[in-house]
Symmetry: C2
DNA sequence: GTAATTGCAAATACTTTGCCACGTA
DNA sequence: TACGTGGCAAAGTATTTGCAATTAC
């Protein structure tokens, strides 16, 4: 665990970042929580709340995302996305991380079996999924 | 196309909503655009911009989401989520739509093959994906 | 010493609500 | 008529930035 933190901080160092207390605590927190976290959660977490300002956490997250150490989940920076549910229709999406282009993927979705397994193993009900592919589109590349 | 709009509006009617111009135009817009859209995009779209206020679109989206006619994408209502990328590790997530619980899915991810196909067919580069399962956890059910 | 990083406070951006008028059933 | 719906404007919440002070290297 601590080893992974050290390795990750080393990667940051090689990418030109400085070794600060806030950076180490941020990475340790993300690693030990082991699920996606929000800026607010991180800034208020025990390792960071007295360590630094929320703006610092924000800028750390920003730099780490640029350098590919962390990933910001979801389709867009700010706004919420809505999609129409048409019975018998299901779309996965392909999104360009440069220009924001969003298009539907024309292929059978390969996760239904896993979805069934999860339903059985976890007891979750009303299960559905979202699947998005991200990358650089030919135009932007 | 128009048929699907009509069917969808009928579903809304059966769920207690009234047939308004704004509702029809909103559904028509979502259907013809055929990708997730934001509140802002919808309110500014040609079918809606002169038709109604942004607050109206907001409330329509809210009602439609409650009734299961549309879906709001992503993990949370407002905040952005960040996750640490550890080389050689990949997580899909299972999220409870009631209490917000997020846990990692312990299963081989079944979409790598499709990801390869997309890479080849579309020419997208630096491809990666996000896969989330949503449902009601046993505790909330 | 120099450039990256930080804290604080102010500014944005997108969302959400209150309240009263209006339209559909 | 009655209750869902709509417009306008104000409030709320999470994010983002400016700038001077600080810190890592």
């Amino acid at each position: 665990m601590d080893k992974v933190v050290a390795e990750t901080v080393d990667r940051c160092r090689k990418l030109g970042m400085r070794r600060t207390k806030a950076l180490e605590q941020l990475i340790a927190t993300l690693l030990e929580t082991d699920r996606p976290m929000t800026l607010g959660e991180l800034a208020d977490s025990k390792r960071l709340t007295d360590q630094c300002d929320k703006a610092t956490v924000f800028r750390l997250l920003q730099r780490l995302a640029e350098k590919g150490i962390i990933r910001r989940l979801g389709l867009h920076e700010r706004a919420a996305y809505f999609t129409l549910l048409v019975p018998g229709r299901h779309h996965d999406y392909l999104i360009c991380t440069e220009c924001g282009l969003i298009e539907a993927v024309n292929a059978p979705c390969p996760v239904h079996q896993l979805e069934d397994e999860i339903r059985q193993k976890t007891g979750f009900q009303n299960l559905y999924h979202e699947l998005e592919f991200f990358g650089t589109c030919p135009t932007c590349a």
